[in-house]
Structure formats: structure tokens, C-alpha cells
């Protein structure tokens, strides 16, 4: 009898240890989820896209713009407006290096000279949209944010993230809903002083080869009720984009 109890207890412990081990293999930390989000958002070595940007004010008035966007790695982005005519040729070049302040240039064709943008402007509205210069750049989430809390739901992870100390981010925190299938942040709410100020959602996403494409992104300013919709018209990945695309020289070209 005593022997069977010992054997039974031993087996029970063995099963419990096995269960814990299986459970720990299947579990994922919040920071790991964030890393996967970053990897999903930085699809491809480089990206070239034509996008349509629709601005909708609180009264429902719309303004449509067209732009071309180039990204390479996590440190280079060049964007140029194609339409409408009054902003055609306006471009932004963002160069980001680890442990260095981002370098941003704005080019206005009317003045034929690039202008260096102060980092204080990085968090401000870009060309009247609900996106900031910071939003336009690929987010190095793991460099800038840390996960405070995570909920593991059926189809999504719910993350609460906060900026790391010494990072130049205007938000206090963000709530991020991550799709378990694609690891895309299908909805993110940004807070300032405990008040939700901006919501970015990805209602349409599509798998293109091995990459998930953010076919449609909606950015809502929760205070002004204004929103910006970004829709990808055409996208190409891994084209071997030349570094020369991400230069002031290219920014200032006529086309």
C-alpha cells in the first residue's frame, strides 16, 4: 500500500512537471510578442509602395493624396507626394541609426532646398495628416517600448506597452491588440497623460508571398475626430533598393 502511494505520488509529480514543461514551451512573453510584431511590420529587406492617403475631417470632408514610399531596413525611409498638385514633390527623408537621434529632412520644391527638421517636430502632424513623422517611420518597437502587461486571448494578444526611459516619444503608453496569426498590431491606442489620443488600426491585411501587407491602415485622432486612411495601391518587397534612394540628392529630384 505504502509502496503504491509512493509510486503514485511519483507519477503524479512526473506528470505535473511534464505539464509545466509543455506549458512553458507553448507560453510566449510580452516582449517576444513585441519582437514578432516588429518583425512583421518590417516585412522584407526593403519595400517600395504607392499609397493613397485620404484625410477625413470631423464633418466628413475628404481630401485624397497619393504618395510613393521607400523603406530599407529599419533605418531608412523616403516618401514623396505625387498628388495633388499643390504638394507634388514635397518629400521627407528619415534616417535612423541605433543609439543616434533620427535625422529628418523635409524638401519643399518651391524653395529648392532641404530643411532639417528638429526632433521636437517629429511627433507633430506630418503635412496635416494624423500621422507624425515618427509614425511614418518604421517603428523599432523593441528599442523604444517595453511590455508592461500582456493578455493572451483566443485570437489576439493584448499588450500594454510603455516607452523606455530616455526615448524621445510623446506617448505615455499604448494598448496594442496583436493578431496571433500575422503578429500584426491590428489595433493600437496611444495615450498621453492617461487619455487616449490616437488609434491606429489595420482593418485590411493581405499575405503577399511570405510577408503580410498592411493594405489599409486607419489613423484616428480621438480628440479632433479627424482620420487618415492609408491604402496601399502597389507594393514590392526585396527589390534590392539602392542606398542612393535614401539621400537628399534623390529627395530633390524633379520626379
Amino acid at each position: 500500500m505504502k509502496k503504491s502511494i509512493i509510486i503514485g505520488s511519483f507519477l503524479l509529480v512526473l506528470v505535473m512537471v511534464s505539464f509545466i514543461k509543455v506549458a512553458s514551451v507553448g507560453a510566449i512573453s510580452g516582449n517576444e510578442v513585441l519582437t514578432r510584431v516588429e518583425d512583421a511590420m518590417k516585412a522584407g529587406e526593403d519595400m517600395q509602395a504607392t499609397e493613397e492617403m485620404t484625410l477625413i475631417d470631423s464633418e466628413g470632408n475628404r481630401e485624397v493624396r497619393k504618395l510613393e514610399l521607400y523603406q530599407k531596413g529599419s533605418g531608412k525611409m523616403m516618401m514623396r507626394f505625387l498628388e495633388p498638385a499643390d504638394i507634388r514633390g514635397v518629400g521627407v527623408l528619415l534616417l535612423s541609426e541605433e543609439e543616434q537621434e533620427d535625422i529628418i529632412y523635409l524638401y519643399m520644391p518651391a524653395f529648392r532646398r532641404e530643411r532639417r527638421i528638429a526632433s521636437s517636430a517629429k511627433n507633430q502632424s506630418f503635412m496635416g495628416t494624423d500621422l507624425s513623422y515618427e509614425d511614418m517611420a518604421q517603428m523599432n518597437y523593441t528599442d523604444k517600448y517595453t511590455v508592461i502587461n500582456m493578455e493572451d486571448n483566443k485570437d489576439t494578444y493584448q499588450l500594454l506597452i510603455k516607452p523606455k526611459p530616455d526615448t524621445d516619444i510623446s506617448y505615455n503608453k499604448a494598448e496594442m491588440k496583436v493578431d496571433k496569426n500575422s503578429y500584426l498590431p491590428i489595433e493600437t491606442k496611444f495615450y498621453k497623460s492617461e487619455k487616449a489620443v490616437k488609434k491606429i488600426s489595420i482593418p485590411v491585411r493581405e499575405k503577399l508571398g511570405e510577408y503580410w501587407v498592411l493594405k489599409k491602415m486607419v489613423v484616428k485622432d480621438l480628440e479632433s475626430k479627424h482620420q487618415t486612411i492609408l491604402e496601399i495601391l502597389e507594393v514590392k518587397y526585396d527589390q534590392g533598393l539602392d542606398d542612393n534612394i535614401f539621400t537628399i540628392r534623390n529627395l530633390k529630384r524633379f520626379r
Binding site: E63, R65, A85, E101, I103, R116, A118, Q124, R249, F254
Partner: protein
């Protein structure tokens, strides 16, 4: 000769522009229309009603180059007269590490906002000042840009000296403008030794943009104004003559950020050709002169954007040669007695969706004069803007800006 070169280049460009088997192939046509109404500040008199036009043609040559052609026109609705002129016409060719641009073009150098001592290739389009930003007039030039590893070198050869338009400068030249109303002046002869050229070297060092520049050419305003004396030993303004002189300008410009603030600075060391001013023709006496020794021009500025979107900017401007706009003083005044022009320029703006308000102020220290340019702009639709602005000058009695007329300007601009 200069006109012939200009004409040939324009014909070549237009021919290339139209040479495509399908005219619309890779050809972009854009333009702007602007209608402005200028009122005296009390609103009682319409002093100007100009319709302005701009037409631009851009044709791509694959990835190897672009053709650019633009025309500008203005029609004075009060005087019922107008003009329509070629603005820029250039061919830009792109090689692996070098870009070449040939034709009538604007070359903008410098890092400061609006006032750029190191930007010397194009004469100022003074009419742009009241819009809050100084831009230049196109000149016929050839420009080569070399792009290396964190190094860019630009060389510019200007074929055709374009002086400042004196009649347009009259509001900024003060009393001197009246003296020069009958000025007899000749541009430098079109010889190799009179050609202007410039060089710039740029790099980024520790996240700061650094540019060194050199310009050799002609000052845009005449350096010496002289007259004959009449029988009463008074200046006979019907005999007034002027001459241009060459200068060498060495410049350095830097831009970067410190603690979320943008900062920039430009410094130019100007060395004029003294021999021109020292020549005295028979019976000619100096009436007006400009500084006849080396002098400095400098700008130091910074900007910041607050979390609520308010943008502010401040610049300190130093012009040892008396003034940004008016370098003249009487011929009997010595250089050492000339007071340097010192200014503080401020800009503030705030924008919400479809609307923006901006205020630009240029304040001259020492004489306590200033000009303020508030602007409110509103987007009526995606291509049309309404602008309401004003020009307000302070320190009218003795200040530098006393000749500027206070105005209220309403304009509508549309792009296509």
C-alpha cells in the same frame, strides 16, 4: 551672346520636351493661378490687383534625367498690363555619382530660414519677402554635383550675370532709391574673366550638416553711385552713374539639432574688389557707396515645436555692411563709421487641419524698426487655398522699413 546661348538652350529643351512620339508620354504639366487683392491698411483703397500664373513642364528621361520648363506671368488688373516670361528652363542629367544641370535655374544654398548669407548665386526676388520667404531669380548656369561617401561637392558656373532689379528694390532702398531713379549703369561685359563661379563642399559630421562654400562674382547691386557736380557744386542727378564690382565670398553653414531643438548657422566672409571703388572718373564724385573693406554676414537660429503643435523660431542676423537690403551710405562716410545691421527675426505658426496661422517678424536693433507679416491660410479644397495676410511696418519715421506700405492682402491660389 548671352541671349543667344539662352535662346539655344531653351530651343533645345523645348525640342527635347516635344520629341516624344506620344507627347503625353512621361510629361507632367502642372501650374498655379493666384489672384491677389492688396488694400491700404485702412482698407479704403485697392492698391494692387494682380493675377499671377505659373506653368511647369517636367519630362522624365527614364532614370537618367529630367527636362524642366516653367513660365511665369503676371497681369496687373488695375493698370491693364501684364507679362508672361520664361522662368526656368533646364536639363538635369543623372550619372552614377554626378548630377549635371544646365540652363536657367535657381540654386539655393544655406541652412538658415529666409536670410542666407551663403546663398549668392541667384539675385533675390524681393517680392517674395512679403510672403515671408526670400526666393531667388533664375540665372543661366551649369551646375555639377558630385556625391561621394558622406561628401558632396557642387560646382556652379554662371554664364549670365543677373543684377538685382533696382525698381523692385525701391521700397527697401529708402531715400537712396529716389537718388537712383535715373541711374545709368552697364552690366559687366560678357567675357571669360567676368564669369561668375561658385563651389560648395558638404558633409554630415556627428549628425550635423556642414557646408563650406566659395563664390566669385558680381554683387547684385551697384557698388558705387557717382554724379557730376553742377555749377553750384551740387550733385547733378541727371548724370548719375553706377558700376558693379566683383567679390569673393567664403561661407560656412551648419545645421543640426540639440535637445529636440533645431539649430543652424551661416557665416559669410565677403572680400570686395576695392579697385573698382577706388577708380574715380573725371568730374565724378561719389554720391552713394557700399562697404569698401572685407566684412562679415552671419545668421544664428533655432526652432522648436511644442507638443500642442505650436512652432516657434528665432534668428539673429548680423550684416556688417549695414543692412540686409540696403548697403548704401553717402559717399563721404567712412567704412569704419558705418553701423552694422543687426536683426532679430521671429516666426511662429500653428496649424490645424486645413488651416494655418503664421506670424513672421523682422526687427532691426538700433533703429527699433520692424516689419510684421501675419498670414492666415485656409484650404478650401485639395488644390485651392485662401490667404489673408498683412504687411505692417513699425518705426516709420527713421527705421529701415519706413518705405514699406502697410497693406492687407487677400489672395486665392489654386494648383493644377
Amino acid at each position: 551672346m548671352k541671349t543667344k546661348i539662352c535662346f539655344i538652350i531653351i530651343v533645345v529643351i523645348i525640342s527635347l520636351l516635344l520629341s516624344s512620339t506620344a507627347l503625353a508620354d512621361n510629361l507632367n504639366i502642372t501650374g498655379e493661378l493666384k489672384q491677389g487683392l492688396n488694400f491700404n491698411f485702412d482698407g479704403k483703397e485697392l492698391v494692387q490687383a494682380n493675377s499671377e500664373y505659373k506653368l511647369e513642364f517636367i519630362k522624365g528621361l527614364g532614370y537618367d534625367g529630367d527636362l524642366y520648363l516653367s513660365f511665369k506671368g503676371i497681369y496687373d488688373n488695375l493698370e491693364n498690363e501684364g507679362e508672361f516670361n520664361l522662368d526656368e528652363a533646364l536639363l538635369a542629367l543623372y550619372f552614377s555619382t554626378t548630377d549635371l544641370t544646365i540652363g536657367k535655374q535657381i540654386v539655393n544654398w544655406g541652412t538658415a530660414d529666409g536670410i542666407n548669407p551663403t546663398n549668392n548665386i541667384n539675385p533675390i526676388d524681393i517680392s517674395s519677402f512679403t510672403e515671408g520667404n526670400l526666393t531667388g531669380e533664375p540665372v543661366l548656369a551649369a551646375r555639377a554635383n558630385y556625391f561621394g561617401e558622406n561628401l558632396d561637392i557642387t560646382g556652379v558656373l554662371i554664364f549670365d550675370f543677373l543684377p538685382q532689379n533696382l525698381s523692385e528694390m525701391s521700397s527697401y532702398l529708402g531715400e537712396e532709391a529716389n537718388l537712383m531713379s535715373n541711374l545709368d549703369i552697364k552690366s559687366p561685359e560678357n567675357k571669360l574673366k567676368n564669369m561668375e563661379y561658385a563651389l560648395k563642399v558638404g558633409s554630415r559630421i556627428a549628425s550635423y550638416d556642414l557646408k563650406l562654400s566659395y563664390f566669385h562674382g558680381w554683387e547684385d547691386l551697384p557698388a558705387k553711385i557717382s554724379v557730376n557736380l553742377d555749377n553750384n557744386n551740387q550733385p547733378d542727378l541727371t548724370t548719375i552713374k553706377g558700376s558693379y564690382r566683383q567679390v569673393d565670398k567664403f561661407g560656412v553653414a551648419i545645421a543640426g539639432t540639440i535637445n529636440s531643438m533645431g539649430i543652424w548657422s551661416e557665416l559669410a566672409y565677403v572680400n570686395p574688389d576695392r579697385s573698382n571703388l577706388n577708380k574715380a572718373g573725371p568730374a565724378q564724385t561719389p554720391l552713394l557707396t557700399t562697404m569698401n573693406k572685407s566684412y562679415l554676414q552671419a545668421v544664428l537660429g533655432s526652432d522648436y515645436t511644442f507638443d500642442n503643435g505650436v512652432y516657434i523660431e528665432g534668428q539673429y542676423i548680423y550684416y556688417e555692411n549695414r543692412s540686409i537690403f540696403n548697403p548704401y551710405y553717402r559717399g563721404n562716410i567712412k567704412d569704419k563709421d558705418v553701423k552694422a545691421g543687426q536683426y532679430v527675426m521671429g516666426r511662429a505658426s500653428y496649424g490645424v487641419i486645413n488651416s494655418k496661422i503664421e506670424m513672421t517678424t523682422l526687427f532691426k536693433l538700433k533703429d527699433n524698426s520692424a516689419v510684421m507679416i501675419p498670414v492666415y491660410s485656409r484650404s478650401l479644397n485639395s488644390v485651392t487655398d485662401l490667404k489673408i495676410s498683412s504687411i505692417i511696418s513699425l518705426g516709420k519715421e527713421k527705421g529701415e522699413f519706413k518705405m514699406l506700405n502697410d497693406q492687407l492682402i487677400i489672395s486665392m491660389e489654386t494648383s493644377f
